[in-house]
């Protein structure tokens, strides 16, 4: 699996980079920008799709635009035997956007959005109310010091 995933070459990464710069760009425009034939871009995009190079569109939706300006990372300490069922229960809380099971001091790290501080307190309460949750630590994101980016990695991993 690890080796299979490394099947993107320099043209793939250039294509991804070009798509990142112009998400609404047509295949024709992309082909022009990249100095490739339209056919090639089409074939490459189909290949990228096949190789799961694209994650969900949902990641592009700005929670703040939906009225959820607060972002917090909640570390959750759980009773180990209840981890599986807990994930299902937590998934029932809409404001939890993402949750990773971790090594280290916390068992779960949740990416959570909220309307305001009060709402965040409410959500934390809901999380604490889930069976198997022992404790939570809430850290409010005050500033996006490094906004999400992939271009440097595209450059680094390209051929």
């Amino acid at each position: 699996m690890l080796r299979i995933m490394q099947a993107l070459d320099g043209t793939d990464t250039r294509l991804l980079s070009a798509m990142a710069k112009d998400p609404r760009g047509t295949v024709v425009a992309l082909a022009q920008k990249l100095g490739l034939s339209r056919n090639t871009v089409q074939a490459r995009m189909a290949q990228l799709e096949k190789k799961h190079a694209f994650l969900s569109f949902e990641r592009r939706i700005n929670p703040a635009a939906l009225g959820y300006p607060l972002l917090a990372f909640i570390s959750v300490h759980v009773q180990q035997q209840k981890l599986g069922q807990l994930a299902v229960e937590l998934a029932g809380i809409p404001e939890i956007l993402e949750g990773h099971g971790l090594t280290g001091s916390a068992d779960l790290l949740l990416r959570v959005v909220a309307l305001d501080a009060e709402d965040l307190f409410r959500i934390n309460g809901k999380i604490l109310g889930c069976d198997g949750v022992e404790r939570t630590d809430t850290a409010l994101a005050m500033q996006e010091m490094i906004p999400y980016r992939m271009q440097p990695l595209l450059k680094k991993s390209g051929g």
Copy 2:
């Protein structure tokens, strides 16, 4: 700012949801699915763009497909007066995808990808080498217990 951000109505959220379901869908197809005119969908999409409802395409790129299967969250404890310049220096490390300044026990939370454990160790070393970094705590993401999702929130916040 908080109130301005709440300017999406039920049609907007339905449109976002439909786009999330079919990211490659044409305006014509979306309009059909939503029972709206093509013109309306176009106008709405332009409005969404204006309201910063769309984050970067980069968020859709799967690091694993680039050969970076390991995901880790690195908490960084810093010397406060050096936070600003540190962010700039950290931004020079391509494997850091995102970094938030936090309240709570850590000052910065970094989302980091790596080739393998050894690479992660190397990256952590680079982070530790940055001026102003006192300490780091690395937590490896073992499993995506709740995969990134926005649909529940779209449903909740829609009109």
